[in-house]
């Protein structure tokens, strides 16, 4: 099977299904006996891989589903039992879930938008030839290579500390009173750390996009009298569209799982309790295994829905781009 086969939906009332299918798929080749045997061997050899894949991907999920129907607090060994849908009722009526969902969307969304904007700016700067370009690029990438926990600690102690932090020191030079980052702006604090970490990632993807743009086209545009702003808006930006979409998608997948800056800096206060932190709290602070499992199951379902919509979008981008060229 090839990739386009996977995503092309079969319309139910195709006027000429047989004809269109014949166009898309070549007729099956006739196989000799030896070839069939070789195929059988190939299929047999695939079995262990399938078994392992099922064991490592599906069994944990099935066990999680089983736990989500259990009433199980680790500290109360005697009270374990079947809970029916109680845990799911708690998830949806407790109020924490919707708050956490909106916190996740807000923090992830803002961080992605900001890091794409900053990443685009840096990519444009790095896309020109200058002395020390390679060194500058490496330096700019550093934040992305740093462990998230280390980054959060640096921000907590060196950058945003209310007494000795560099950010407040810089602000005081401008005559601004010291800011209590974690207390007064917890969501902004987390977004700052994430933007700082993911800007280089976005920049890398966008820089690759910029470098794949042909210089001749841009030269031709300038010969035709287009200024730098016009050629950026009408030539470069449309060219970058698919790179931006890819950056947003990948960034979204990674940022949805964000945990470290929240655990280290804000501890889930002031609208920073994202789904992953909420899940951690239910399992390791609340010790409610059943409830945490129910949160996990709901999160997986939501992720599957979001991911399949996003993936479909992504395939559409690639296939439409492919059709154009």
């Amino acid at each position: 099977m090839t990739a386009p086969d996977l995503i092309v939906a079969e319309p139910a009332h195709d006027p000429a299904p047989a004809a269109s299918r014949a166009l898309r798929r070549p007729p099956k080749p006739e196989l000799s006996g030896g070839q069939i045997k070789a195929l059988r061997l190939a299929r047999t050899l695939v079995w262990p891989a399938i078994v392992v894949a099922v064991l490592v991907t599906q069994i944990p999920f099935l066990v999680t589903i089983y736990y989500s129907f259990q009433n199980w607090n680790l500290m109360r060994p005697g009270s374990r039992g079947f809970a029916g849908f109680d845990n799911y009722v708690t998830v949806f009526t407790g109020g924490a879930f919707m708050q956490s969902l909106s916190a996740t969307v807000f923090i992830t969304g803002s961080s992605i938008v900001l890091s794409v904007l900053f990443g685009l700016g840096l990519a444009l700067l790095l896309n020109r030839k200058f002395f020390g370009q390679g060194l500058a690029r490496t330096l700019v990438i550093t934040p992305f290579l740093m462990m998230p926990a280390a980054a959060a600690l640096i921000f907590k102690w060196s950058m945003l500390d209310a007494n000795v932090g560099m950010v407040n020191w810089g602000l005081s030079a401008l005559g601004v009173d010291p800011v209590q980052w974690n207390t007064d702006f917890p969501a902004l604090t987390v977004i700052m750390v994430l933007t700082w970490q993911y800007t280089p990632f976005m920049m890398l993807i966008l820089l690759a996009g910029l470098q794949s743009q042909s210089k001749e086209t841009l030269e031709a545009a300038s010969v035709d009298g287009a200024g730098p702003i016009r050629s950026f808006l009408h030539m470069t930006l449309p060219h970058l569209r698919q790179y931006i979409e890819l950056a947003v998608l990948l960034g979204g997948i990674m940022l949805l799982q964000v945990f470290d800056p929240i655990a280290i800096m804000t501890r889930g206060t002031g609208g920073t309790k994202t789904l992953s932190y909420l899940l951690y709290e239910r399992a390791f602070v609340g010790l409610e295994i059943g409830e945490a499992a129910a949160y996990g199951v709901i999160t997986v379902l939501l992720t599957i829905i979001v991911a399949s919509v996003a993936l479909r979008l992504l395939f559409k981008i690639f296939s439409s781009e492919g059709a154009k060229s």
Binding site: R40, L41, P178, T183
Partner: protein, 457 residues
């Protein structure tokens, strides 16, 4: 393609054999995974004990000195698995709750000991300790022993213990012409803090970082001395009672007016940092903070005064915490484990630390005799006598104004408390930031607390 050119034929049998090999290799792989978790040993012959512990300095000293124990007990080896506090709590809870049996000795905080004891997860050490005359069980500090006892069973023995007290910078008080009484009240302390607060120096450092063990350790003692409590005698939640509300209002106002900047970021470590650099005039926290404050490298060593925890309605309001050694019921080496536990919590061990590592490194707060030891008192003269007074003065069975149905001061010994304390403290962060009011936050907390209380009825 190469695959289609293969001419060798495979019989059905060979195919089956291949699949079988493939499956069995998967089986071996899985067996290998599960094998890594188990660690039970036979009791006869040489014994290896696995000890799960928290990675703080006193425990590292114990690991350093375990050779002395192994020399006198040649058939026992002790393996230390040291973890950060939260990891230890997770790992040990999971192992003990699921009957994993990985550990022969576990380090347990005083909050968990009664809960685990009631769950029948821990060996009752009472009879073993009574039978061992050299161990002198009556020498254990009475309030600590009380906190580790459920229905006359002693489920753990203390390795070291702490209470809380008020530390103040004598230079700053002298410069402002203020005098700190030995038993201050919270109103006096609030007055001092508001007087001493400047742009660069916080009047007082009080924990604001969310967490039942962070913010709510000092805050619960304030609540109790203000006459409030988490639950009344019949497990009815009292979180939005006037006394509880007044205490939280007092605490948050004091921090906002005269406390440290950015309270939600500030826990024990951050306060220690601030105070030992001379950026706070007072600090109300654990007695164990005195060690690092008086250590070399601290900017305020020798300039600090120590007084009793501030009070309002009660006589004494220090908290009580101990790191303890306990033996899980799942251990197959319980006798050997007791040998080690009794050695590590004995006066003999305390002397060993004093003579080999230095008297200032002795684990404090576990035995009365530690505070009668002239060498220790000389090394820790600044804070040892007051620590002893406070640790003997606190009453874990009734720390507040009214009787309570659990034993413990800054925590409630029910499984739901860590979750409850955590959630309410997260909401109090909104009060520090001015996003919410104390009344609203505690009304929400009351609902959560009532659920936890109902589970005890």
């Amino acid at each position: 393609m190469k695959r289609f050119e293969m001419k060798k034929s495979y019989s059905m049998k060979k195919r089956l054999a291949l699949s079988a090999i493939a499956f069995s290799s998967v089986g071996v792989l899985l067996a290998g995974c599960s094998g890594a978790g188990g660690g039970a040993q036979q009791a006869d012959g040489p014994v290896t004990l696995t000890l799960a512990t928290v990675n703080n300095p006193q425990m590292k000293d114990m690991e350093e000195l375990k050779g002395a124990f192994e020399d006198s007990h040649p058939d026992i080896t002790v393996n230390f698995v040291a973890m950060e506090e939260n990891d230890l709590r997770d790992a040990v809870t999971k192992d003990v709750a699921t009957q994993g049996g990985q550990y022969d000795i576990v380090t347990v905080g005083s909050y968990e000991v009664p809960i685990w004891g009631q769950n029948d997860w821990l060996v009752d050490l009472g009879p073993l300790a009574e039978a061992d005359t050299a161990y002198n069980v009556d020498d254990l500090l009475p309030p600590v022993r009380e906190a580790l006892t459920v229905d006359d069973s002693l489920y753990a023995v203390p390795f070291y213990g702490e209470s809380s007290f008020l530390m103040y910078n004598k230079d700053m008080f002298a410069a402002a012409g203020l005098e700190m009484p030995t038993n201050p009240t919270w109103d006096e302390v609030a007055g001092f803090a508001r007087t001493l607060k400047t742009d660069d120096v916080a009047g007082i450092c009080l924990r604001g970082k969310p967490g039942w063990g962070e913010l709510f350790a000092p805050l619960t003692t304030v609540v109790q001395t203000f006459g409030g409590t988490w639950f009344d005698e019949d497990w009815n939640a009292q979180v939005n009672s006037p006394e509880f509300t007044e205490a939280v209002q007092f605490y948050t106002d004091l921090v906002k007016d005269a406390g440290e900047a950015d309270p939600v970021s500030t826990g024990f470590t951050e306060c220690l940092n601030l105070f030992s650099q001379g950026n706070a005039a007072m600090w109300y926290d654990a007695t164990s903070a005195a060690g690092p404050i008086e250590a070399d490298g601290s900017a305020v060593a020798g300039k600090i005064g120590y007084v009793h925890a501030p009070v309002k309605e009660t006589e004494e309001s220090g908290w009580l915490w101990a790191w303890n050694l306990a033996i899980p019921n799942t251990s197959t080496n319980q006798d050997a484990a007791w040998e080690f536990v009794s050695w590590a919590t004995s006066t003999e061990y305390i002397d060993l630390v004093g003579t080999t590592l230095g008297w200032e490194r002795v684990p404090p707060g576990s035995r009365t005799s530690t505070y009668e030891n002239a060498d220790y008192l000389a090394a820790a003269s600044a804070f040892a006598p007051i620590t002893k007074d406070i640790m003997l003065g606190v009453n874990p069975t009734q720390p507040g104004v009214n009787p309570q149905p659990w034993v413990g001061i800054q925590y409630v010994t029910v499984p739901e408390f860590q979750d409850l304390g955590n959630q309410v403290s997260q909401d109090i962060a909104d009060v520090f930031a001015g996003r919410d009011t104390v009344g609203n936050v505690l009304d929400k907390g009351q609902e959560l607390a009532q659920q936890a209380g109902d589970a005890q009825k």
